[in-house]
């Protein structure tokens, strides 16, 4: 006998500085429901389990196919995308929804992930190409290189790795796993490699690679199974070589 209702417990907060509170909702069960679908049902009838009128739960979502990362939240305490959190796989108890804790709350389940995007700017996670004129064909990658790069290019800056990283918190300057892995990606690209030293400089400074504590929780939390720890190993090699080069070129 499948469950008749879906019970949800949602941590709500009206403003970034406001106090949080819990609200409970009860929805009729339907097949193939995920957490986003539940939140969409709530906004069509914003009434709590106790029958009190409330506002629709606020959350962020865009692609609904686990490629944008914006619907990331804590589902039963675990950071993950709410679009792929299937109700039937979440146990019999109430589904508990909370915002990520490592980023400031905007409202309810939406957080401000700007610190992660700022870190991507710090490490120059792009390939600079000047002008709109034709530079001709770029260098080619072997299929092996493509496959390695592809794994890192799947990062959607969802923040799951940042959430579980014990070193990434508000009393540390550590930039976190996601931006570091992008240095690995862009430094392996034949055109991106031209700016490899700038990216290494960014992660050799404060809050960079050396602040990683090797807890290795990031690789477990990553929904795209990005080989984050392998990236840090390779970056360790790159920064060591860069440091030695600097030492002997003085």
């Amino acid at each position: 006998m499948p469950r008749q209702t879906i019970e949800l417990k949602v941590k709500r907060q009206d403003t970034p500085t406001g106090r949080s509170r819990w609200e409970e909702f009860s929805l009729p069960w339907q097949p193939n429901m995920n957490v986003v679908a539940c939140l969409m049902e709530i906004r069509k009838r914003p009434v709590t389990k106790q029958g009190l009128a409330t506002t629709p739960v606020h959350w962020e979502a865009s692609c609904l196919e686990e490629v944008c990362g914006s619907c990331t939240m804590l589902v039963n305490g675990k950071p993950r995308q709410s679009c792929t959190a299937l109700v039937d796989s979440l146990g019999d108890g109430p589904i508990v929804l909370e915002p990520l804790t490592k980023f400031p709350v905007v409202r309810d389940l939406q957080v401000d992930r700007t610190p992660m995007f700022d870190a991507l700017k710090r490490v120059k996670a792009w390939i600079p190409i000047d002008g709109s004129y034709d530079l001709g064909a770029g260098p080619r990658l072997s299929s092996g290189e493509q496959e390695t790069a592809y794994a890192f290019s799947r990062c959607m800056t969802c923040g799951c790795c940042m959430e579980v990283c014990p070193q990434y918190n508000d009393h540390s300057e550590f930039m976190g796993p996601a931006p570091l892995a992008q240095v690995r990606l862009f430094n392996s690209h034949p055109t991106g490699r031209m700016n490899a030293q700038e990216r290494l400089d960014a992660i050799m400074g404060r809050g960079g690679l050396a602040d990683c504590g090797n807890a290795q929780l990031c690789i477990e939390a990553c929904p795209k199974e990005i080989p984050l720890t392998e990236a840090f190993g390779e970056l360790g090699r790159q920064v060591t070589l860069a440091w030695l080069r600097q030492l002997f070129s003085r």
């Binding site: 193939n32 409202r107 939406q110 709109s132």
Partner: protein
């Protein structure tokens, strides 16, 4: 197999013949004869998403699928300027410019490549092409006399006043209709009648339904009277635009009595180049969308019959 043809076949099997899996709107897409290693190499991302959303392994069990809306075929009208040899004049400020002076559209939001069908990787084409063309066009515009450095303060003030008043009015809405329920109904009627297969009587019914939804929209509640991160408030405004756009799509389809690309009318199954090789352009009017037509430039590439045999 192009996606519009495949979609119509699936529609025929499920709707006309009632032969969908379990009698529902589902068919199987079977990949189980392909070795797991090959699938992982070629289609890892998409199959992983299927597994995550359904809880079933597509390497072991046939996938259950049905066509879904993925893309809007159509978009903002943009201009272009032809050079004397029939190609594009790359320096022209007209390229990619919308009907609003100084407003340029770049990428999938413009209409240029996808009037009749959505081809794979069109999104890449549209961002690469329009990006390359719009950049120089904007520069030319900035250096031209048409460009005004600073719009008059009165223009900005009037715009701010208009939108502040609009949102202040929406923020007070307290009627009995829920905007998200209306959006669900909008999606349902458009999906049923204005996607894979189109019948003129159904299109007329749809237009009537859209006008009913617009009337109910005026009695919808904003649901949230807060002033911070109020998503229902923006949604209420957006829904009004969606209702207008839905009428553009529906009435454009109703007027076009032929089948072209993904636009399929069983009553008119053939492509009719003599009468309909033209682009539908809609403009806003208080009484509803106004349609006009523009010729399609085929000087560089003449159309041929579409065949897959």
């Amino acid at each position: 197999m192009p996606r519009d043809v495949a979609s119509r076949e699936i529609h025929t099997v499920c709707v006309d013949k009632g032969l969908g899996v379990g009698g529902g709107m589902v068919v199987y897409l079977d990949l189980t004869h392909i070795p797991r290693a090959t699938l992982k190499k070629k289609l890892e991302g998409i199959l992983e998403i299927y597994e995550k959303f359904t809880g079933e392994d597509p390497c072991e069990q046939p996938m259950k699928i049905y066509p879904a809306v993925h893309y809007s075929m159509g978009g903002l009208w943009v201009d272009y300027e032809r050079s004397s040899d029939g190609f594009l004049d790359h320096g022209s400020a007209r390229n990619q410019r919308t009907s609003i002076d100084g407003l340029y559209a770049v990428g999938e939001c413009d209409y240029q490549y996808h009037g009749a069908n959505r081809l794979g990787a069109n999104s890449l084409l549209s961002c690469v092409y329009a990006g390359q063309v719009a950049g120089p066009a904007v520069l030319t515009y900035l250096h031209s006399s048409a460009h005004v450095d600073d719009p008059r303060p009165s223009v900005l003030e009037a715009a701010e006043k208009k939108w502040s008043a609009r949102f202040a009015e929406l923020a007070k809405r307290d009627g009995g209709e829920n905007p998200y329920v209306l959006a669900d109904e909008l999606g349902k009627v458009m999906l049923e009648n204005v996607t894979i297969v189109r019948h003129n009587n159904k299109l007329r019914e749809t237009d009537a339904k859209l006008q009913e939804l617009a009337e109910r929209w005026s009695r919808a509640s904003v649901l949230d009277h807060g002033t911070w991160a109020n998503a229902p408030l923006s949604f209420l405004n957006q829904l009004w635009n969606m209702l207008h756009l839905a009428r553009v799509v529906t009435l454009g389809a109703l007027a076009r009595d032929e089948s072209r690309g993904a636009h399929y009318k069983p009553e008119f199954p053939k492509r009719d180049d003599a009468n309909w090789m033209k682009t539908t352009v809609a403009s806003h009017a208080a009484a509803g969308p106004c349609l006009r037509y523009e010729p399609v430039d085929v000087t560089l590439c003449a159309p041929v019959e579409r065949k897959y045999d």
